[in-house]
């Protein structure tokens, strides 16, 4: 049952995109017929070629920036006596929970041509020494904001490394940097490569950053090219969008497959320590404070600068050269929000889909996870492959596909304008992440605990009710909080499904960006960041592990 459900929500939309790509017009047009016209048009379009090239550059560039930096930070935090690491570590993961479109907007108002920091620097040295709206600016910011992804994978691999291999190098006379470069990092090379392929993949799915930062310079990547295509021809050019969507999937799917292969062989290198024994962190010596400085600098640039920008922008009536900050402070933008019913609905909807939708999604993931749990069947590996698919699908495309599903299948069409359409798209987009959270909790349940119930006389359903679920309830609650955050920060999936009744903060920001309503965007962004911050705070207080 669970497998069929997953197959339906994953394959249905993807099949529809495939079908649409071979039509001459949008599928609802009475004159639509089978053809490869759409492929011919897109593949010959110069705009598509340049978007493809830019995507490739951005993906490679951000991988080159984020993987070494993320690995270095992982080593510092997992293996050395870096001062204040307990306190610093949660902050390292914060960018994962921030909406890229909010971050991008934050950079615009903080270090854009007339941003707060740009103008302060200009007042100091007479010019702005950087240009945000450039390919390099985009790559740098994409790279810096994806450092946590590399950090996550590399640090969890480093933590499972037997400290004795490093101690052996120390005893043999190696210093801390030599140990990092010649022992620790080479031993976790599979994880480093895995994170590199993941970040490279995420590069093709970038949407918020290139939408906001690439726009003024006329830079288009594949996703923003797809987005612009919507408004390009006046009539819905669904067949062309389907082709672009498929071309993105054609790039991402092999990468997902490659990662799967890598994960399977990752165990080869691992030197797993037996008992998680206490070990003495490697002393950084004179490098202690430079290392802290590096970490804090990264945090400043990646988290503090954009967030301060957004917060300040939401509190000023106007900003530009010669404006004094203290004279323009105001709370008007937040008051203004309440005048727009769609924005108010957006805030309410965001909370509803995060809290209630998130809980329902976790319930769905738990059902799928339990179905696959300790079930020896070829269906499980089929399920494994199914779950891979959504990982290759950017939220933008999943949203588009579900829009089409709700237009195409008439009986469910009325659901399109309800939060249900958004919820099901969100659930598919976060399927792989959610299942990973569930299986991480299930892994904590030793099989004997369930076997003991079986031998005592409990049926499978009773085992789940009396043993498995009670044992993972804390894990489920943690999963709910994480999914809650992800659903609140989600923006791209709702872009195509945006309509009266389905507004959420993220997609509203994207659509407002087109109108240039900076005041409203900044106020909405602050509300979203505050929401995410609040949940993150609760999650950390409850001891929920962010390492998923």
């Amino acid at each position: 049952m669970a497998v069929i459900g997953v197959a339906l929500v994953v394959c249905g939309p993807l099949g529809l995109i495939l079908y649409q790509s071979f039509l001459s017009e949008a599928f609802f047009s009475p004159t639509a017929h089978l053809s490869v016209e759409a492929y011919r048009y897109v593949l010959a379009d110069a705009g598509f070629h340049s978007a493809f090239g830019t995507s490739l550059l951005v993906s490679s560039g951000m991988t080159i920036i984020s993987v070494p930096l993320g690995s270095l930070l992982a080593f510092l935090l997992a293996r050395t006596d870096l001062p204040g690491k307990k306190w610093l570590e949660p902050w390292l993961l914060v960018p994962i929970f921030l909406s890229p479109v909010v971050l991008a907007f934050g950079y615009v108002v903080a270090v854009g041509p007339v941003g707060f920091f740009s103008l302060w620097i200009k007042a100091l040295i007479g010019r702005v020494p950087w240009n945000l709206y450039s390919l390099f600016g985009l790559i740098l910011i994409a790279g810096l904001t994806h450092v946590p992804h590399a950090f996550l994978y590399v640090s969890s691999a480093l933590r499972s490394l037997d400290p004795a291999v490093e101690e052996a190098a120390r005893v043999a006379g190696a210093g801390v940097w030599r140990i990092a470069v010649t022992v620790s990092l080479p031993l976790v090379l599979p994880s480093i490569l895995f994170s590199a392929s993941l970040i490279f993949l995420l590069g093709f799915e970038l949407f918020g950053l290139p939408l906001v930062l690439g726009d003024p310079a006329g830079l288009l990547v594949l996703t923003t090219y797809l987005y612009k295509l919507t408004n390009l021809l006046g009539v819905p050019s669904y067949h062309l969008m389907a082709v672009v969507a498929l071309s993105i999937v054609a790039l991402t799917f092999p990468l997902v497959y490659l990662q799967r292969r890598m994960l399977r062989t990752a165990g080869r290198f691992a030197v797993i320590g037996g008992k998680g024994q206490a070990f003495r962190p490697l002393p950084l010596g004179a490098f202690r404070w430079p290392a802290v400085f590096l970490l804090v600098l990264w945090l400043l640039v990646t988290v503090v600068v954009p967030l301060v920008g957004v917060a300040l922008r939401s509190l000023v009536s106007s900003w530009g050269e010669g404006v004094k900050l203290t004279e323009v402070l105001t709370l008007d933008h937040f008051r203004e929000l309440w005048g727009y019913p769609n924005l108010v609905r957006g805030i309410v909807n965001t909370l509803v889909i995060g809290a209630i939708g998130g809980a329902l999604s976790v319930a769905f993931y738990a059902i799928v996870g339990l179905a696959a749990h300790r079930w020896q069947s070829s269906w499980v590996s089929f399920l494994d492959y199914l779950v891979m698919l959504p990982r290759a699908l950017p939220g933008l495309i999943v949203g588009l596909a579900f829009l089409w599903v709700f237009l195409f299948f008439k009986p469910i069409a009325p659901l399109r304008t309800t939060l249900f359409s958004l919820w099901i798209a969100y659930t598919v987009v976060w399927l792989a992440y959610g299942l990973r959270l569930i299986s991480a909790s299930l892994l904590q349940v030793k099989p004997e605990l369930e076997e003991a119930a079986r031998v005592t006389g409990a049926r499978q359903s009773l085992i789940y009710r009396d043993v498995t679920l009670p044992l993972i309830r804390f894990g489920l609650m943690g999963s709910w909080l994480l999914i809650f955050m992800m659903f609140v920060r989600e923006y791209s999936t709702g872009v195509y499904l945006l309509g009266p009744g389905t507004e959420v903060i993220g997609s509203l920001i994207v659509s407002l960006w087109g109108t240039g309503a900076l005041d409203l965007i900044s106020a909405l962004s602050v509300i979203e960041v505050a929401l995410v911050g609040l949940i993150l705070f609760i999650a950390l207080r409850l001891g929920v592990s962010l390492h998923a």
């Binding site: 605990l449 076997e451 003991a452 119930a453 031998v455 005592t456 006389g457 009670p470 044992l471």
Partner: protein
């Protein structure tokens, strides 16, 4: 009627043939130990009886009721076999109190609440756990957890109690006390028990009968005294206890006895395998049966002391005779030199 009959159980795990046709019967009130090294298949056999593994071949009956038959594909799932199983890791449910852990099996059987209370308290009292009823697993010591696991498996009077290395997670000192206690409890209850262990002392002490498993086959079967004191199988002779080993040729056979000969030595022993004069053979003798002797005589060898190790409760001497290595236990330090060692012909088994 036996409580448990297993016939010709076979099990393949991956490429390994874990069980190659194992048959045994468990009589009423009997404690049967499955003894073997890791990888011998003993735990797989126990889990097959419990229904947690599905054998590829064979038949299992519990109190005359068929629960598994590979030839017809018949299988009663684990939860309907009504057995009690004590896990090596105890597997106490951490989210339930001791009382609720023990009561669970009765609740599943829709026992009235008043009766549950009475029976759980009775079994807890018997195992000395009555004061811990409201505790959780993490508040218990290893020995207490082990008793909770036993109480949980016993409370609904299963026809057969299965125990998977129940003492192996206890400290050595505690384990020695628990041996006697566990046998007494099982005997009092009057249930039959299948007891898996890799510890031969434990198997010999607790069981009425021992099955020695190796590589998926039963090598030897019998009462503890027979398994240890009169093995009929070379694996059993070598696996149990500490042994001295003599590799040589059969020089002479006289009735049940044979004379084994090697370079510079010859010894009489009991023939345990049909062999002809001139064939290569191996003799085994338990170290504790090998003794120092005052002077020359029959069944004696002239040997040179190589080293002596102090083991606390005794000394262990290592003697050389050409290529032969002979260990003997004694009570005092021995000066260097040559000695006579007695290898009684009744205690030397020739295979």
């Amino acid at each position: 009627m036996p409580d448990l009959i297993a016939e010709n159980i076979e099990k393949q795990l991956g490429t390994a043939q874990v069980l190659r046709g194992v048959s045994f019967q468990l009589q009423e009130r009997e404690i049967l130990a499955l003894l073997g090294a890791s990888g011998s298949g003993k735990t797989t056999l126990l889990r097959s009886v419990a229904g947690l593994e599905q054998p590829d071949g064979g038949k299992i009956e519990i109190r005359g009721k068929l629960v598994f038959d590979a030839s017809s594909g018949f299988e009663i799932p684990a939860e309907q076999r009504g057995l009690g199983l004590v896990f090596q890791s105890y597997a106490i449910w951490p989210h339930r109190t001791v009382f609720e852990n023990v009561a669970y099996g009765l609740r599943l059987r829709h026992t009235p609440e008043a009766e549950i209370k009475e029976r759980v308290n009775k079994v807890l009292k018997r195992l000395g756990l009555d004061h811990l009823a409201d505790r959780y697993a993490h508040q218990l010591s290893g020995g207490q957890q082990q008793r909770v696991a036993l109480a949980r498996a016993m409370v609904y009077n299963p026809p057969v109690l299965l125990l998977d290395e129940p003492l192996s997670n206890l400290d050595a000192k505690l384990r020695e006390d628990a041996r006697a206690w566990l046998r007494e409890i099982i005997k009092q209850t009057g249930t039959s028990a299948l007891y898996v262990t890799h510890d031969q002392t434990e198997a010999l002490a607790i069981a009425d009968r021992v099955l020695l498993l190796d590589r998926g086959l039963i090598q030897e079967e019998g009462a503890p005294e027979k398994i240890y004191g009169a093995p009929t199988n070379r694996f059993a002779a070598e696996f149990m206890g500490s042994n001295n080993r003599f590799e040589g040729k059969l020089a002479e056979i006289a009735g049940q006895e044979g004379r084994l000969e090697g370079e510079g030595w010859t010894l009489w022993g009991q023939m345990r395998l049909a062999k002809k004069v001139g064939e290569a053979a191996t003799g085994f003798v338990r170290v504790e049966r090998t003794r120092l002797s005052e002077g020359a005589g029959s069944d004696r060898l002239r040997v040179k002391l190589n080293s002596a190790l102090y083991l606390g409760e005794r000394w262990e001497y290592l003697f050389h005779l050409g290529d032969l290595r002979i260990r003997v236990w004694g009570e005092e330090r021995l000066p260097e030199g040559e000695y006579w060692v007695l290898v009684p012909r009744n205690s030397l088994w020739i295979f």
